[in-house]
C-alpha cells in the first residue's frame, strides 16, 4: 500500500464514555484509502467502542472523527452509513425475524435498492447464504450469521468497511476463508478497518496495525513489524 494514499478516516484523540465509564482515553488513528488496518488488543481494551464511535452509534465526548476531511462529530449513525461506512458489528446483530435475503436487502438500505450484482457477489463469496436465502436469520448457526453480517455490510457497497471480529465463532477452515475474503474485498477497492482477537491472522492480511490497551493506543506500526514485535508476540500471539 502506498504510504502516499490520502487519509480516508482520521480519528483524533477521541474520548468516549458509557455513563461514567471512561472507555476510550484518547485514541488517535488514521486509515488511508485502500488500506487494511487492524486494531488488536485484549478483551475490554476498547476496540468495539472505537468502531461504534466511528460509525456514530456512540458520540465522543472529546476529540474528532473525520471521513475524507468531513467532520463526523454529531452526525447520526444513519447519515454516516449513507456516507459509505458499513459495519459488521460485534455479535453479528443480524435481524433475527427477517430472512437471509431480507437481511441482505436491509444492508443496501442506504443505497435505496439492493443491486442484483452486489447480491450475486455476496452469494458468490458465501454460497451458504444463497442456499439459505429464505431462512429466518435468527435460526441460522452462529457461523452462518457471521457470514450474513459480513455479506449485509458488503451490500452497502461501502468505501470504508468496519469489521468487528469477523472470525468470531467460525470453524478454523472458515476463518481462513473469511480472511481471504477480506483481502479480496480490499483488493477490489474497499478500505477496511478490522478488529480482531485473532491477531496473527489479522496482522497477516493487514497493512498496518494499532494495539489498544485499556482505552489507549500503545503501539502503532506496519503489520509485519507488529507481528515481529516482542510485546505483541507475548501478549497477543500467545508466545511465552
Amino acid at each position: 500500500m502506498a504510504d502516499t494514499a490520502p487519509t480516508m478516516l482520521d480519528v483524533q484523540d477521541i474520548h468516549t464514555y458509557y455513563g461514567h465509564i471512561h472507555a476510550l482515553k484518547g485514541i488517535t488513528l488514521q486509515v488511508r484509502k485502500g488500506e487494511i488496518v487492524t486494531l488488536i488488543g485484549s478483551n475490554g481494551a476498547g476496540k468495539s467502542t472505537t468502531l461504534k464511535t466511528i460509525s456514530g452509534l456512540l458520540q465522543p465526548r472529546q476529540g474528532e472523527v473525520s471521513l475524507d476531511g468531513r467532520r463526523l462529530n454529531g452526525v447520526p449513525a444513519h447519515k454516516i452509513a449513507s456516507l459509505g461506512v458499513a459495519q459488521s458489528p460485534e455479535g453479528r446483530r443480524v435481524f433475527p425475524r427477517m430472512s437471509v435475503l431480507e437481511n441482505l436487502e436491509m444492508g443496501a438500505f442506504s443505497r435505496g435498492k439492493a443491486d442484483p450484482d452486489d447480491l450475486a457477489r455476496v452469494f458468490d463469496l458465501f454460497p451458504r447464504l444463497k442456499e439459505r436465502a429464505s431462512q429466518k436469520a435468527g435460526t441460522m448457526s452462529g457461523g452462518e450469521q457471521q457470514m450474513l453480517a459480513i455479506g449485509r455490510a458488503l451490500m452497502a457497497r461501502p468505501t470504508l468497511l468496519l469489521l468487528d471480529e469477523p472470525s468470531m465463532g467460525l470453524a478454523p477452515i472458515l476463518v481462513e476463508q473469511i480472511f481471504g475474503i477480506v483481502r479480496d474485498i480490499n483488493a477490489q477497492g474497499t478500505t477496511v478497518l478490522l478488529v480482531e482477537q485473532n491477531a496473527l491472522m489479522a496482522l497477516a492480511i493487514a497493512h498496518r496495525g494499532y494495539v489498544l490497551q485499556t482505552g489507549q493506543i500503545v503501539l502503532a506500526d506496519e503489520a509485519n513489524a507488529l507481528a515481529k514485535n516482542e510485546m505483541v508476540r507475548k501478549a497477543y500471539l500467545g508466545e511465552e
Partner: protein, 324 residues
C-alpha cells in the same frame, strides 16, 4: 334452558364487529411496543380524541337526512381520514415531545409519562366537549339505522339482524388491516420499522433513521386508533372523554392475549375479546341470573390475568417470527 342459536349468532355478529374495532386500537399498542417496548398508556386517549374530532368534522361540514347517499359516503370517508390524520399526528407528536426524550431513560420513565399524558388528554377532552356523553351529529340516515341487511339484501326471514353499521365496521377495518400488512412487509418504511424493532443499533448502521422510523410507528398506530374512534362514535352513537379507558383496556388486553408485538396476534386477540365482550354484555344474561354488562370489564380483566398466568407470551407470542 335451551341454547338459543339465533341469539348467539346475533351476539357473535356484534362481537366480531366490536373485535374488529378493538383490533384497530390493539395494533397501535402492538406497533409501538414492538418498536420501543413501551406500553403506551395514552393510546386509549388518542383513540378518544380521534372520536371527538370525528364529531367535530361531521358537525362542521354537516350532512342531513336529505343529503344524497354519495354525499353521506363521501362525508363518512372524509371524517374517517381526518380522524386518522388527527390521531396519527397527535400520537407522533406525543412521541416527539415526551417519549423521544426518554428513549434512553429507565423503562418506568416513559411509562409514567404515558399515564400523565393520558390524564392531560382527558382534561383537554373535557375542556373541548364537556364531561357529559355527547351524541354525534347525524350521519347515517335514520332509515338505515334499523335496516337489516339479511332481509333487505338477501331476503332472509330471520330474527338475526345484520346492520349496515356492522358491515361498515368490517368494511373499514379489513382494508386497513390489509393496508397495514402491505405497508409493514412491502414498503421501505415498513421494512425499516421491522428492522428497527428487531435491532435498533443494527438498523441505524444500515442507514435507517431510527427516530423517524419510530415516529412512523406512532403515526400509523395513532391513525388506526383515529379510524377506530370515528367508527366507535357511530357504532355506539355516543362519545365521551372517558371512552378511551374501556376501549384502551380491552384493546391492551387483546394485544397481550395475542402476544404483544405480534400484528396477527393482536387481531386474533381482539376478535376473541370482542366476542367475549358481546357475549358478556348480552348473551350471558339469558342464562345467568343477574348477569349484566357491568360484569364485562371484570371478565376482560380475568382474561388478562389468566393470560399472564398461563401464557405470558400470548397466543402467538412464542412464534415471535412475525413480531412486527
Amino acid at each position: 334452558m335451551d341454547f338459543n342459536a339465533a341469539l348467539f349468532t346475533q351476539y357473535l355478529i356484534i362481537g366480531i364487529a366490536s373485535g374488529a374495532l378493538i383490533a384497530l386500537i390493539a395494533l397501535g399498542y402492538t406497533l409501538v411496543y414492538g418498536i420501543v417496548e413501551l406500553i403506551n398508556f395514552a393510546h386509549g386517549e388518542v383513540f378518544m380524541m380521534g372520536a371527538l374530532f370525528a364529531t367535530t368534522v361531521v358537525a362542521t361540514v354537516g350532512v342531513t337526512n336529505d343529503s344524497s347517499g354519495v354525499a353521506i359516503v363521501f362525508m363518512a370517508i372524509a371524517a374517517l381520514l381526518a380522524s386518522m390524520l388527527f390521531s396519527g399526528l397527535l400520537n407522533a407528536g406525543i412521541d416527539r415531545v415526551a417519549y423521544r426524550r426518554l428513549r434512553n431513560a429507565p423503562k418506568l420513565a416513559p411509562l409514567i409519562a404515558a399515564i400523565g399524558i393520558s390524564f392531560i388528554l382527558q382534561n383537554i377532552a373535557i375542556y373541548w366537549k364537556g364531561s357529559n356523553p355527547i351524541t354525534p351529529p347525524s350521519l347515517i340516515p335514520t332509515e338505515y339505522v334499523r335496516y337489516n341487511v339479511l332481509t333487505e339484501w338477501f331476503g332472509l326471514e330471520t330474527r338475526i339482524r345484520l346492520r349496515v353499521l356492522d358491515l361498515a365496521v368490517l368494511g373499514v377495518t379489513i382494508p386497513l388491516l390489509i393496508g397495514l400488512t402491505w405497508f409493514v412487509y412491502k414498503t421501505r418504511t415498513g421494512k425499516a420499522m421491522r428492522a428497527t424493532a428487531q435491532d435498533r443499533d443494527a438498523a441505524a448502521l444500515m442507514g435507517i433513521d431510527v427516530n423517524r422510523t419510530i415516529a412512523y410507528a406512532f403515526l400509523i398506530g395513532g391513525a388506526l386508533a383515529g379510524a377506530a374512534g370515528m367508527i366507535a362514535v357511530y357504532y355506539n352513537n355516543s362519545a365521551r372523554f372517558q371512552m378511551g379507558f374501556r376501549y384502551g383496556l380491552f384493546a391492551f388486553t387483546a394485544a397481550v392475549l395475542g402476544g404483544i408485538g405480534n400484528l396477527a396476534g393482536s387481531v386474533i386477540g381482539a376478535l376473541c375479546i370482542g366476542i367475549v365482550w358481546s357475549m358478556s354484555d348480552g348473551f350471558m344474561s339469558q342464562y345467568i341470573e343477574g348477569w349484566g354488562a357491568g360484569w364485562t370489564p371484570a371478565v376482560i380483566f380475568a382474561v388478562l390475568v389468566l393470560v399472564m398466568i398461563f401464557r405470558p407470551t400470548g397466543l402467538l407470542g412464542e412464534q415471535t417470527v412475525d413480531k412486527v
